[in-house]
């Protein structure tokens, strides 16, 4: 297979995977919509218990990590491996900050006696943000692998498909949060 065909196949592969991911989260989003219509008062009261400032900070953190991964890809397209490694490290760091804030939020909720089995709103909150958090962890592992391989000199101006593919996955993780944040924190 020539490199251009291989690259196109890989791009289609990750988009097909992301399609399954949309539907994985889609089931939970559907549940959210159904129960929000059924229990509007409960959703309204419960969403006020979430910290929208922390949620907003985490949104900005994740958007920033999308930028750094995009800049990393732009760097390796020019063959600048050092710059790629810097941006990948920054992305992983921001992902860590995101999970750190999420950890603070979770412990805060537990402290106030709010658990996944408290009511349907918090069930959905913990399921959606938990599933998303697992995706953040998976993204960190993928980005870490790419960083490791970049360190071994595996990528160059002419070959960097795995960097682009991992970047697409990371942007998707950001994309899911873009919907989770307003639905859970802002309009409950």
């Amino acid at each position: 297979m020539d490199p251009a065909t291989a690259r196109e196949a890989a791009t289609l592969g990750i988009w097909a995977f992301l399609a399954t991911e949309v539907l994985l989260f889609g089931g939970l989003f559907t549940a959210y919509i159904i129960y929000r219509i059924k229990f509007p008062q409960l959703f309204y009261e419960d969403h006020l218990k979430l910290d929208r400032v922390l949620g907003a900070v985490n949104t900005v953190v994740l958007i920033g990590s999308s930028l750094t991964v995009a800049l990393g890809i732009a760097a390796i397209r020019k063959g600048r491996v050092g710059l790629l490694k810097l941006y990948l490290s920054l992305t992983i760091l921001l992902a860590g900050v995101f999970l750190g804030i999420k950890y603070m939020e979770y412990t805060g909720k537990f402290h106030h006696g709010l658990f996944p089995d408290t009511d349907i709103f918090f069930s959905l909150y913990f399921m959606l943000t938990g599933l998303h958090g697992i995706h953040v962890l998976a993204g960190m592992a993928a980005l870490g692998t790419v960083l490791f391989l970049a360190g071994k000199g595996r990528y160059s101006e002419s070959y960097h498909t795995p960097v682009e593919i991992t970047g697409l996955y990371w942007h998707f993780v950001d994309l899911v949060w873009i919907y989770l944040f307003p639905l859970l924190y802002l309009v409950g």
């Binding site: 889609g26 929208r52 999308s66 397209r77």
Partner: protein, 91 residues
Amino acid sequence: MKEHDSGIRIYLVVWGALVVLTAVTVAVSYVHLGMMNVVVALLVASVKASLVALFFMHLRYESKLVWGFALTPVFFLVLIIAGTLLDTSFR
């Protein structure tokens, strides 16, 4: 070279727009607009999602085939939500 530099400028502009839109959606959430709160929040989120997909995910430069792969799950998601609502709303 020049093309790549302008690419980085686009990334920075998109990032700025995403941060501003986040601030907007948080600010609007403090104003009581009833049902319009949900509409505005989803509208802003969709604009942000489109920016991420078009620019960060390079969908703007991709072939029709990739667009097909990207839009098909959206179609099925709408189908799932609409189908489920048709059931639960009329019980």
